[in-house]
Each structure stands twice: as C-alpha cells, then as structure tokens.
C-alpha cells in the first residue's frame, strides 16, 4: 500500500491532492476483492497511461485522446529500433524488445480506453495507409542508397531520419490495424 501511495507522486500535485486519498481507498478495496498480482498489473498499466495524461491536462485544456497512445507507441518503436540498430549484445536486444513489447501493449490499452464506443477512430480505418506508406518509404530509401552508394555524414543522417519515419509509420499502421481489426473480431456480448 505504501508503494502505491508513493507511486501517486507521479501524478500532478493538484490531482493528487484532490483524488489521492480516494485512489488509495479504491486500490485498497480492489486488493481486498481480487488477486493481488492481477490488481497490481492492472494498476501499473493504469498508472502508465493516466499519469502522463494528467500532466498533459495541466498544460493543455484537453489534449487529443490519441496523444498518449501515440506517445507510448513511439516509445515502443524506439525500443524496437534500439533492439534492431543499437543492440550490441543479446541482453541489450532483449531489453529493447521487452520495452517495445510492454510499451506496445500499454499503447494499445490506452488507445482502447480513449476511443469512442461504436465509432471507429478515423485514422484507425486507414491503418493500411500507414503500413503502405512506411513500406514505400523503406523501399525508396533502399533503392536510393543502393544507387548513390556510400553516403556522407549528412546524407547518412537524413537517411536515418527517413528510415525512422518509415519504421514509425509501419509501427503506427500495425498498432492501428490490430486495434481496428480487434474491434471487428473482438468478443461479442452475450444475448
């Protein structure tokens, strides 16, 4: 319980002062009524999503609902990039992949919480465009770098930015596609 009380410092002060005691009470009751590991896991995901959102809301009146999922999705892509490009040992690759997987799962959860019921997010319907654009960018980059041969430092930096953009687009398309298709093929309510 003290751990959770300590974690509440991740929320903005005003929010903490207003709702902190209620949140601790709620968490206590959840622990009382459910298995502790599951409650802690759910609360950790909840905290990862809502703490940044609360901070954003202290600076912006009402940030776009897609902002936090996309921000966490970017962390997932960064983890993937780290594993692919910067991983010099199996441990580092594993760390990058773990960050990518965890952040990806949290991003999908955040997206599902923020979407409107029965109205697919407009970008969700166009997930394949993100995917196709990303692939097209990577193919174009491969062709260009093959033709031009060795790159100088500025060209190399530009190529890395383009590569990153392509990978982010592919990742966004993948996440949006999973969310979109999950909406179509998810479990249906009984009755």
């Amino acid at each position: 319980m003290r751990l959770y009380q300590g974690l509440l410092c991740l929320y903005p002060r005003r929010f903490r002062e207003e709702y902190g005691a209620d949140m601790v009470l709620l968490f206590t009751e959840q622990l009382r009524d459910g298995p502790a590991p599951r409650v802690w896991l759910r609360t950790a995901v909840d905290l990862t999503i809502t703490a940044p959102t609360c901070h954003l809301e202290t600076h912006m009146h009402r940030p776009p609902t897609s902002f936090v999922p996309l921000a966490i999705g970017t962390v997932s892509v960064a983890g993937l990039l780290f594993a692919l490009v910067g991983g010099s040992s199996p441990g580092m690759v594993g760390l990058g992949l773990a960050v990518a997987a965890i952040a990806g799962a949290v991003a999908v959860t955040a997206w599902r919480q923020n979407r409107t019921v029965a109205a697919a997010p407009p970008t969700g319907e166009h997930w394949w465009r993100f995917l196709a654009t990303g692939v097209a960018v990577l193919v174009a980059l491969t062709v260009v770098t093959t033709i031009t041969g060795e790159l100088d430092s500025w060209s190399w930096m530009l190529a890395m930015v383009v590569l990153l953009s392509g990978l982010i687009s592919i990742a966004a398309g993948f996440v949006l596609g999973v969310v979109h298709l999950a909406g179509h093929h998810g479990p249906r309510a009984a009755g």
């Binding site: 929320y11 929010f15 207003e18 709702y19 005691a21 209620d22 949140m23 601790v24 009470l25 709620l26 968490f27 009751e29 959840q30 759910r42 609360t43 995901v45 909840d46 905290l47 999503i49 809502t50 703490a51 959102t53 609360c54 809301e57 009402r62 609902t65 599902r112 919480q113 923020n114 979407r115 409107t116 019921v117 029965a118 109205a119 479990p187 309510a189 009984a190």
Partner: protein
C-alpha cells in the same frame, strides 16, 4: 459542457451510463461499470478519477453535497449526473440503440441483436 453530437470516449460513456441509476462512490461506480460491460471494462484508480475529473469539469457530473448521513464510510465521495449529464447519457443511449438497430437491419437474414 460536452459538444453536441460528439460521442463520449469509452471510459466517460460507461461512467455516465452507470450513474443513470443514481449516485455512486468510486468503488461502487467501478464495480457498476464492470457489471454493465460484462467485465470487459475494468477501470483502475487513475482512469476512474481522471475521467471523473474531466466529467466534473465538463459539467456532466457533480459531487453530491446534499446527501443524508449514511451507515457506510463517510470519507467516500459520491457522484451523480447533472441535468446536462443525464441528457448526454440519454443521447448516448439513443445513439447506441440506433447503431445496434442499423447494424442488425444489415445483418444477413435480417438477424436481430
């Protein structure tokens, strides 16, 4: 005040629908949402109170102030729909019912939901 015609996000929608029955405190509200969604929506403390905070700001719900003394824990804060909040909740219900009817009408064989 919520812009007319714009659907509520999932968490807000479930909370206003749960409050249609009357005032609830945080834990009861969370349990009611889980019950209404058949266990599909389980809110953590951050989601619940973050959403309540936004709904209070939007004037859709309010903290109950004229509540009579109860036997349960008085530290709890209870929330209820405002007049605007109830109207929005009913609008959302109508929107969802319309959606279900339209989809059911287009299902093969004219199946109903």
């Amino acid at each position: 005040m919520k812009r007319p015609g714009k659907p509520l996000p999932s968490a807000s929608l479930h909370i206003v629908l749960a409050l249609l029955d009357g005032e609830l405190h945080g834990y009861a509200l969370m349990a009611r949402v889980a019950e209404l969604s058949d266990g599909a929506v389980r809110m953590g403390p951050g989601t619940l109170y973050g959403t309540l905070n936004r709904l209070v700001d939007d004037g859709l719900i309010e903290e109950t102030t004229d509540r009579v003394t109860r036997d349960d824990n008085e530290r709890r804060r209870y929330y209820q729909l405002t007049t605007d909040g109830r109207a929005v909740a009913v609008d959302e219900l109508v929107r969802l019912q319309g959606l279900v009817h339209r989809i059911a009408a287009h299902l093969p064989g004219g199946a109903t939901a």
